[in-house]
């Protein structure tokens, strides 16, 4: 079942008449049989969107289509959806079996058919041995699976999951998200899944919808969103460790990090006045030859920008020397985008190593570089870093990609 949101808005009006736009003009098409993640920080309107699709919230404007049917005014029970709540909302006084059969009893399904469906669902989510237990006798992961079984029992056309993994511990979270993916594949049900955890969203969804303050930022396949963030927010929201952001300057297709430009009035031979900008750099690195997208004029004036580099976007080489050696960086090196720096801290997770390095252009600010553990870099080592161009993004002051 394809879900289409057209100009969907949800405004909340507070007592003092201030209007909060929880969801603003949202247009989205969820292809049939796909798993879509609504991703964003808390308060970005992703759960509100989900509840509007469920029918528990009424949109202020806009329409919701299931297939070709406008369901905007259809009550939740008639939409054919299954909803899994963040804290599962399993009825604590009913056994697992009764919980799963609860929606079926509402439909006055015959007893033996209910039993059959319950068993089938239990098998699907792998909770057969626990059918006669109470929810509080199950682990968080098992409760989550019961909640999914209950949502799927009445064979909905759409499955909605509201932060389904946030109440689980790290290991269970990994396990359960694979489980959700498997169940979704097996049933082929169109699934919308709300999360604030980018890793979760990236790992199991077909497409990610990144939201911020009620507005969709980017919709694409997980890898595409990661590789081509449309703005600084998306770039910063996806990826752990977070992308490194440097403030810099763009001038004549060159990106500078650190340093200043000095204005100088020059008069040419025809007595025409113009302003020249001269870079005054120190140990800063700057990166050259950034392609400006076509149609966009390279600024004559140096423009303040943000340069974002993924932690894995650095090549690092260990240099000879020790903690006390002085770091000498030549101007040529800086021009080529090569940084020499001292490693402050090292975080090891086995497969690779995170170097924490003080930003040479901004004291007390640190950035992270992920390198292979084989390099055997330790705290105090001096390293030479160069930047992989495809892991670097340049955003303007408003945070939009240049």
């Amino acid at each position: 079942m394809e879900i289409t949101l057209v100009g969907l808005c949800k405004y909340f009006v507070a007592k003092d008449k201030t209007v909060t736009k929880a969801v603003d003009n949202m247009n989205l098409t969820v292809p049939s049989g796909k798993l879509i993640a609504l991703l964003g920080p808390s308060g970005c309107g992703k759960s509100t969107t989900l509840y509007m699709i469920a029918g528990l919230h009424t949109p202020t404007h806009g329409q919701i289509f299931f297939g070709d049917d406008d369901v905007t005014q259809v009550p939740p029970e008639k939409r054919g959806i299954g909803l899994v709540f963040q804290n599962y909302a399993l009825y604590p006084h009913l056994s697992v079996r009764q919980n799963i059969s609860f929606p079926l009893e509402n439909e006055r399904m015959p007893k033996d058919e209910i039993n059959k469906t319950v068993l089938e669902m239990a098998k699907l989510v792998d909770i057969e041995p626990y059918l006669d237990r109470k929810p509080n006798e199950l682990s968080g992961g098992q409760q989550q699976r019961v909640a999914i079984a209950r949502a799927l029992a009445k064979r909905p056309k759409v499955l909605l999951l509201d932060e389904p993994l946030s109440n689980l511990d790290a290991r269970l979270r990994l396990q359960t998200r694979e489980e959700i993916r498997r169940i979704q594949r097996e049933t082929g049900i169109t699934t919308i899944f709300v999360t604030h955890d980018q890793e979760e969203a990236m790992s199991i969804s077909d497409e990610i919808v990144v939201m911020r303050q009620g507005v969709i930022q980017e919709i694409d396949k997980p890898q595409n969103v990661y590789d081509n963030p449309i703005n600084l927010f998306v770039a910063m929201f996806l990826g752990t460790p977070q992308i490194n952001v440097f403030s810099g300057t763009l001038h004549k297709n060159k990106v500078y990090i650190g340093g200043n430009f000095r204005e100088k009035e020059v008069v040419d031979e025809n007595n025409v006045k113009s302003i020249e900008y001269n870079y005054e750099g120190g140990n800063e690195f700057y990166l050259t030859d950034i392609a400006i997208p076509e149609g966009k004029k390279a600024p004559d004036k140096p423009e303040k920008i943000f340069v974002a580099i993924r932690p894995e976007g650095f090549n690092a080489e260990k240099l000879a020397g020790n903690e006390n050696s002085e770091i000498k960086q030549s101007k040529e090196e800086a021009t080529k985008g090569i940084i020499k720096a001292k490693v402050d801290l090292v975080e090891t997770i086995g497969r690779d190593t995170t170097l924490i390095i003080e930003d040479p252009t901004a004291p007390k600010k640190f950035f992270k570089a992920i390198v292979s553990a084989d390099k055997k870099i330790e705290a105090g080592d001096i390293v030479e870093l160069s930047v992989k161009p495809h892991k670097m993004y340049v955003f303007n002051k408003e945070g939009d990609l240049i």
Binding site: G55, L56, E77, L83, F85, A89, Y91, P103, R150, K154
Partner: protein, 405 residues
């Protein structure tokens, strides 16, 4: 830390509470159990001690069950048992159900919720005596219909919605069940001076026939005049049934002509209404603490309101409901103030004192009769304690399977 040598500190801090509880709770409780089994106890003149000393040779001869027998033989014991049990076992379940329904409705409205919550809570902060006085005004009967005197609000309402005759019939039926007094007597017509109104008798006869049929009793055809003559001769009998001879008029709920049926209805109404406040307070508190997601989940699954109430709200509230049920039952067994408020210390309508007697009323009655009967009062209290214990244990056992903690 609390173990070992520092233990005395804990006892020191507990001492004020323990001493007060000991003097004013534990000692009186234990003492009343002892007194209940002592013959001719007299706390001031120490007759008891003399008895003990005199009877030393006889061993435990001061021990007796006589006090309990005195209680059982009390003229109003039957009423005390009947009224107390009825008030506890009828008014408590009704008020629990009503409170639950009102709470659910209160929670579901947004506008005026605070107003209604305050309204329902008012009885809780109002003196029981004041409420009872208001009730006597509400249920006032200012004479017979023909007298044309204005009635209390309840009687006026009953009349205006045409329930007067029906209710009178019902009350007479209740009275018949309660006292065995032949109901049809109510339909012999007397005027305000007590004379039998022969003109009205014939069509009342039909009512008599209808009622006897309804009650499955033999109809004594043609016997009306004979019976009436018989009653007129038997002045004593006539007088004892006197107040039943009245016109099919307004119901005298709490006045001199009130019957057991009408009086108990007023007491039940009072008990239910007065006890609603606290229950609603507790229930609305409990309801707001139920996670809204359960209701969202039920809504998505297309659960009807009725099923949501029975399968979700009630089970989730069950610990609170049982708590309220048991504390209310215990409270209802101690009913006394409301009866005094409605009927005065006579514990019944004027002219039939003791008709509304309750168990605690019985205890007070013995205590009021001076020091001579304190041990009988204690025995009555022990009986009440036993009844409450049994009922509470029964409630616990019956609800155990249905409570989900």
């Amino acid at each position: 830390m609390l173990e070992g040598k520092n233990n005395w500190k804990a006892w020191l801090y507990l001492a004020p509470a323990l001493i007060l509880l000991g003097i004013f709770s534990f000692y009186p409780i234990i003492n009343s159990f002892i007194i209940a089994f002592i013959r001719d106890y007299h706390p001031v003149s120490e007759v008891f001690r003399q008895n003990v000393e005199n009877n030393q040779a006889l061993g435990l001869s001061f021990f007796t069950f006589k006090n309990f027998i005195t209680v059982f033989k009390n003229a109003n014991f039957e009423y005390a048992i009947k009224n107390t049990l009825l008030i506890a076992l009828v008014s408590v379940p009704i008020s629990v159900i009503l409170a639950l329904v009102i709470s659910v409705l209160l929670i579901s409205i947004k506008k005026l919720r605070g107003f209604f919550q305050t309204l329902f809570f008012l009885p809780y902060v109002t003196s029981a005596m004041a409420v009872a006085m208001a009730f006597t005004v509400l249920f006032a009967n200012n004479g017979t219909a023909s007298a044309g005197i204005s009635q209390g609000p309840i009687n006026s309402v009953i009349d205006s919605i045409g329930l007067k005759n029906g209710l009178t019939n019902m009350l007479d039926w209740m009275n018949y069940q309660e006292s065995g007094k032949e109901s049809w007597q109510a339909y012999i017509c007397v005027d305000s001076s007590g004379e039998i109104d022969e003109d009205k008798l014939s069509d009342k006869y039909q009512t008599y026939v209808n009622l006897q049929t309804l009650l499955d009793l033999p109809i004594e055809y043609g016997d009306m005049y004979a019976y009436q003559t018989y009653l007129a001769d038997q002045t004593d009998v006539y007088n004892s049934y006197r107040y039943h001879f009245r016109e099919l008029g307004y119901i005298d709920w709490v006045g001199a002509q009130a019957t057991w049926g009408s009086a108990i209805l007023v007491v039940l109404t009072y008990s239910i209404w007065a006890s609603l406040a606290f229950k609603i307070l507790v229930f609305t508190g409990g309801l707001t603490s139920i996670d809204k997601q359960y209701y969202d989940a039920a809504k998505i699954d297309g659960t009807s309101k009725w099923r949501t109430f029975w399968r979700i709200t009630v089970p989730m509230m069950s610990p609170l409901i049982v708590y309220i049920l048991i504390t209310s039952l215990i409270g209802a067994f101690k009913v006394y103030t409301s009866i005094v408020g409605l009927f005065g210390s006579g514990m019944g309508p004027a002219g039939s004192a003791g008709l509304m007697q309750t168990f605690v009323g019985l205890v007070y009655q013995y205590l009021n009769e001076g020091n001579e009967l304190i041990h009988v009062g204690a025995a009555a209290a022990v009986i009440l304690f036993t009844i409450i214990l049994i009922i509470t244990a029964l409630t616990n056992a019956l609800t155990k399977k249905r409570v989900h903690y």
